[in-house]
Subunit: 345 residues, 2 copies
DNA sequence: GATATCTCTGCAATCGATTTTAATAGACTT
DNA sequence: AAGTCTATTAAAATCGATTGCAGAGATATC
């Protein structure tokens, strides 16, 4: 493997000059610059990043910790994260934890070991206090996840309002018995969505029925199973709000298997707006999260922290949007005026 | 940031001894070992990976180059890749190219710069000869992608046979006019699938009609658009084979929009077996690729190459499987005896 | 003409862990 | 008691690029 000193010899300069040429530093005469570049080309020299990393004490790499890369919600966020990272000369190390606390900690440790310059947490099983401590000693941004009461850099949406809006959409369509499939209640955004659901019912003076609130795990299967339970309740709900789109689709499956129809017999609304929404029948009405944008902003924030810039805003809340499709039925009522009618992705 | 020499001082030993303790080398007395470990704990010492990487000339990291992380096919492969990497103490650097040749080359360069120890190519736009050259100078494994005629480490399925089998499934169900939606013909597996389709028709003496072969781009929309064209042909095909599941779902959409039914009016078969298949209605019959397994084997192969082990097999071809669901209709005919009947993911 | 300023380049230190080589103490042999 | 081993530890070289400092030469300023 050819190294800098060999290039230096060939170009009859010192390694420092080669380094300066390659890092586009000023104060190198045009003539020397050319000679060096020729030598670099001739020897097919590639600087050794491991050496460079050590000297600069930075790998220009960031680790992204998420629970499941095959989940379209997270992969879209990841895409936004990577795009911004790349534009700024950074790389993304994948940290798929599969919800393992141990792995999560291992990935976080990569920052302590200086192997990566920063950390994006799109999932966080570790304790609040630990996250706080970590955020104080190294560059960290929470994407989607967040911690109540602490001032940790975060990019997310307002899950409470969003869930309230989804629920109100159903209420405005005339529904009174609305089932709610929560996400895992261990994560805060699941609790927030539940809170939003409750708020909407309260606001419209609809009694809350605990039998119509069940905890799912974000999987299609859990949506299916819980919907089956709901349909066994007497009388069954006329509408269901699922905390993510996969569970909503599972619920739709259950409804159809029972010989009932969506939205005629039961209306269904989801959350996230993944591509799947427009591929099922009827197309799924849902709350759209700006997934890609969350990624963009989270990485921009992280890079600012890494560069030592002051953050104007440490907590960014992006706008969600109700996307009305077919699974709740049509009505004179229109939310926000805009109705998405895209057929394909 | 506390470094090794400070630990050494506190434990009253030399840095070399600290290093030996931390790397579990023998020839360290139990007493010293304990003293060092205590010092490590007390100072909360974490070895600097950048320094370690330089000295060992390895980052224990591998870059995975793929065209689109949000594509469920690739994200599943990636999961397999990462799982094996992690079990072996390696990390995965994400290389989402968005089909850009420039980015692809940039990621490949990371190996030349010694920033990563190896390379998995799940997409390859660069020229054959270049791939060959690269595979000779650094650890590389092709996953799914492959290069004809050269002996480059590869893990894939037999796309020709798989496509032939899919087509024969339709033929065995009585179809004679079978449309085919190809993938982008720039990638070899698309050409292979087309080849398999042609072989099946030839084998059963069905005339090949060029109007029933159209090039898609693996997107739902292209499947939809091409199916619309097929339905305008007179007479339209009674069955369609799409080179991936997304296009198949797009085709199904088109058929329904025309007021026709799947599989009654037109049978549809896809390729890949992504989770979406069981979520659409009717559920999509398809060819299942062992995505996760491809990832597993590709990474195992790469790590062997990195460790300098000889490969027994340099080209691994994994088994695909026809998964019969609902989109082609039922029939007395059963392929392979096994019929998948899972409802959810 | 002397001094200050600027441009360009080289030397040598540095980043922090790892590893080769050497050294020391004690045990064991003969 | 001298010589040989063995176990353990320290010292020093090393990985390869980067960068602070110094110095040489050229140009500008007074």
């Amino acid at each position: 493997m050819v190294k800098m000193i060999e290039v230096a010899k060939l170009a009859r300069v010192s390694p420092s000059t080669v380094s300066r040429v390659l890092s586009n530093s000023p104060y190198v005469s045009e003539e020397t610059r050319q000679r060096v570049l020729e030598a670099v080309k001739l020897l097919e020299y590639k600087p050794n990043r491991l050496a460079s990393n050590l000297r600069k004490m930075s790998s220009k790499t960031v680790v992204v910790v998420l629970p499941d890369i095959t989940n379209p919600f997270f992969s879209k966020i990841l895409q936004g994260l990577e795009d911004v990272a790349r534009e700024n000369g950074y790389h993304v190390l994948l940290g798929d934890t599969g919800n393992s606390l141990k792995l999560e900690k291992d990935f976080i440790d990569l920052v302590r070991e200086r192997f990566v310059d920063g950390l994006i947490l799109a999932t966080a099983r570790i304790r609040k206090e630990e996250i706080l401590a970590i955020s104080q000693e190294m560059p960290v941004v929470l994407a989607c996840e967040y911690v109540e009461g602490y001032d940790i850099p975060t990019v997310s949406i307002d899950n409470i309002s969003a869930a309230r809006q989804a629920t109100e959409h159903l209420i405005n369509l005339g529904h009174q018995r609305i089932g709610f499939i929560t996400g895992p209640l261990g994560v805060i955004l699941s609790r927030d969505r539940l809170k939003g659901y409750r708020q909407a019912l309260l606001l419209h003076e609809i009694p809350i029925e605990e039998a119509l609130i069940q905890e799912g795990d974000f999987s299609v299967k859990s949506g299916y199973d819980i919907m089956m339970k709901f349909l066994a309740v007497n009388p069954p709900p006329t509408a269901v709000f699922a905390s993510n789109d996969e569970m909503a689709v599972g619920a739709m499956k259950a409804i159809k298997h029972k010989g009932m129809r969506v939205p005629d017999d039961v209306a269904v609304i989801g959350f996230d707006d993944i591509p799947l929404c427009t591929l099922v029948e009827p197309e799924l009405t849902t709350i759209a999260q700006p997934k890609y944008e969350i990624g963009i902003q989270a990485m921009e924030m992280l890079l600012k922290i890494i560069k030592g810039e002051m953050l104007v805003k440490r907590q960014i809340v992006l706008a969600h949007q109700l996307v009305v499709r077919e699974s709740c039925g049509y009505n004179l009522y229109r939310q926000g005026g805009e109705v998405e009618t895209n057929i394909h992705t």
